[in-house]
């Protein structure tokens, strides 16, 4: 039964593929996101750009606010908990959340341990900067992976770095001799059986999305061409001039990510993009949280 649950949870992520998951902070925004073609929404009190600006400790959102968003839309609703805060995760599971994001965007609650996600019925998505991190999260029970990127910046550079690091590591593992896998597993801090499955299948055993810094249809298509199976958009939509239009354009860009003519049309007249901050200008690197 336990196994079935983790399989069902991985399969829900398969249904999200080719889609865009959007950060929303109110039921109204959730409806705009659903109408624009979001395949799921991430309910949170403040979007990452505002969390960054406000500083202080950032926690799981008010369950009441999440429930209002659940009531407003028919698509899956996700919400974030602090890294290692398994009680916040228990609370989200109790209100019937569809996916829990154990997220570096919030202030970590545990600087050593992540949540033992195998103890939950609800599925988890976790951030990763490279193959080792992704596999460690999968062994802890994550049923979906996303790049960490650098949330709330509108700067795509870190998401690109993480996606490239992960996929090139998979290619390296594919080309290894079997006896080399043991040492690599040791270096990565992961089990050899998981690496063997990577070598055999040439991909993660779970769905892998891009997240962190996606602000334009071109950013979304870039991540898809680099091998993402779908895209999270956080601050990029509701920090921009025309959220509905930008959201719909990003949705189409993810479906037709190789069609440059369409991408050109989609990039027309979108209004102002979020201002963004360069990675060199920020003091807090959220991606460094939770390895």
């Amino acid at each position: 039964m336990e196994n079935n649950r983790s399989k069902l949870n991985r399969e829900l992520a398969q249904m999200l593929k080719g889609g865009v998951i959007m950060d929303v902070t109110t039921p109204d925004q959730a409806e705009i996101a659903q109408e624009a073609g979001a395949c799921a929404v991430m309910a949170l009190e403040r979007i990452p750009a505002d969390i960054r600006a406000a500083g202080g400790v950032s926690r799981m959102s008010d369950p009441k606010m999440i429930q209002n968003i659940q009531a407003a839309v028919s698509i899956p609703v996700m919400a974030k908990v602090r890294i290692g805060h398994f009680v916040e995760a228990q609370i989200l599971e109790a209100i019937g959340i569809d996916y829990i994001d154990e997220s570096e965007v919030l202030t970590p609650a545990d600087d050593v341990y992540h949540i033992d996600k195998t103890k939950f019925q609800a599925p988890f998505v976790c951030g990763a900067r490279d193959l080792g991190e992704a596999l460690r999260r999968i062994e802890e029970g994550a049923s979906m992976i996303r790049t960490k990127g650098e949330p709330g910046t509108g700067d795509i550079v870190q998401a690109v770095r993480h996606m490239r690091a992960l996929n090139s590591a998979i290619r390296r593992v594919r080309s290894m001799r079997e006896d080399e896998l043991f040492e690599t597993a040791k270096q990565m801090g992961v089990s050899c059986s998981l690496l063997q499955s990577i070598q055999k299948n040439g991909r993660l055993p779970v769905v892998n999305f891009a997240a962190g810094g996606v602000a334009t249809p071109a950013d979304a298509a870039l991540m898809m061409q680099l091998g993402a199976e779908g895209v999270f958009v956080g601050s990029g939509i509701f920090k921009s001039g025309n959220p509905g239009k930008r959201a719909a354009a990003i949705v189409q860009a993810v479906t037709n990510y190789k069609d440059s003519k369409l991408l050109a049309q989609l990039s027309d007249d979108l209004g102002e993009a979020m201002v963004g901050i360069n990675e060199q200008e920020i003091h807090l690197l959220m991606a460094e949280r939770g390895k």
């Binding site: 829900l12 593929k17 698509i75 479906t255």
Partner: protein
């Protein structure tokens, strides 16, 4: 035989993997130009029906696909695909509305209510069925054939050359339902050939020289 898979969002790659295994040709439909290739059947995959509905309109795919469905193009919808075909949708709006059933969206509840079961499919034996935030069919009109039931709800139906399941056979590795769909396409091709031969007989043409293969070719021309 060539199958087109609607690849706007969702689990379309899993259908392709299953068709590859069964040796059927297939290609993805992501935009209008993709429809210029001939195909004998269409798969509407699982995913979010709201997303697919919006993209069908935004990418100008709705009208041409709708007219193909009205012409009797064989179609197979899983989960969200069932919702796209259903004439009536509880908790949502219909899309193509060519399948004479009432489907209830998110009928079992949220992800925590997703489940597996094994049930008979159309008398072909018991098959594994994953239900993921799935719909079920509340009511099917009299002329619709019920192929599977689970928990007293209808979860697989056929109406003429339309096949729909509330569950995801593409995730299980069991090819029963996909094979059934391919047989359905063949059946239609054969029927059209018979129809054509009859038609040609009337015009005193040589109907006997038509092979099933040619029948299929002619079907394609008719469809496009």
């Amino acid at each position: 035989m060539t199958i087109a898979i609607l690849a706007l969002q969702g689990a379309f790659a899993e259908h392709k993997a299953m068709l590859d295994r069964l040796g059927a040709n297939c290609f993805e439909i992501r935009k209008l130009q993709d429809l210029s290739r001939p195909f004998d059947g269409l798969i509407l995959p699982g995913g979010e029906s709201t997303v697919m509905k919006k993209l069908l309109r935004d990418l100008y795919l709705f009208d041409p696909l709708f007219s193909k469905l009205q012409d009797g193009l064989p179609v197979f919808g899983t989960c969200a695909g069932l919702l796209l075909l259903a004439k009536r949708v509880t908790g949502g709006e219909p899309c193509f509305g060519t399948l004479s059933v009432t489907a209830r969206r998110n009928a079992y509840g949220r992800q925590l209510e997703s489940f597996y079961t094994n049930q008979d499919f159309g008398g072909l034996g018991s098959i594994p069925m994953p239900f993921i935030r799935a719909p079920y069919i509340e009511q099917a009109d009299d002329f619709v054939t019920v192929l599977s039931q689970a928990d007293n709800h209808i979860v697989a139906v056929r109406e003429q050359y339309q096949l729909a399941t509330a569950f995801h056979p593409e995730l299980t590795g069991d090819p029963t339902v996909h094979r059934y769909f391919l047989d359905m396409i063949e059946e239609r091709a054969n029927q059209q050939m018979t129809h054509l031969s009859f038609h040609q007989d009337c015009k005193t043409w040589q109907a006997g020289s038509l092979s099933p293969k040619m029948g299929l070719c002619l079907t394609k021309t008719e469809n496009n």
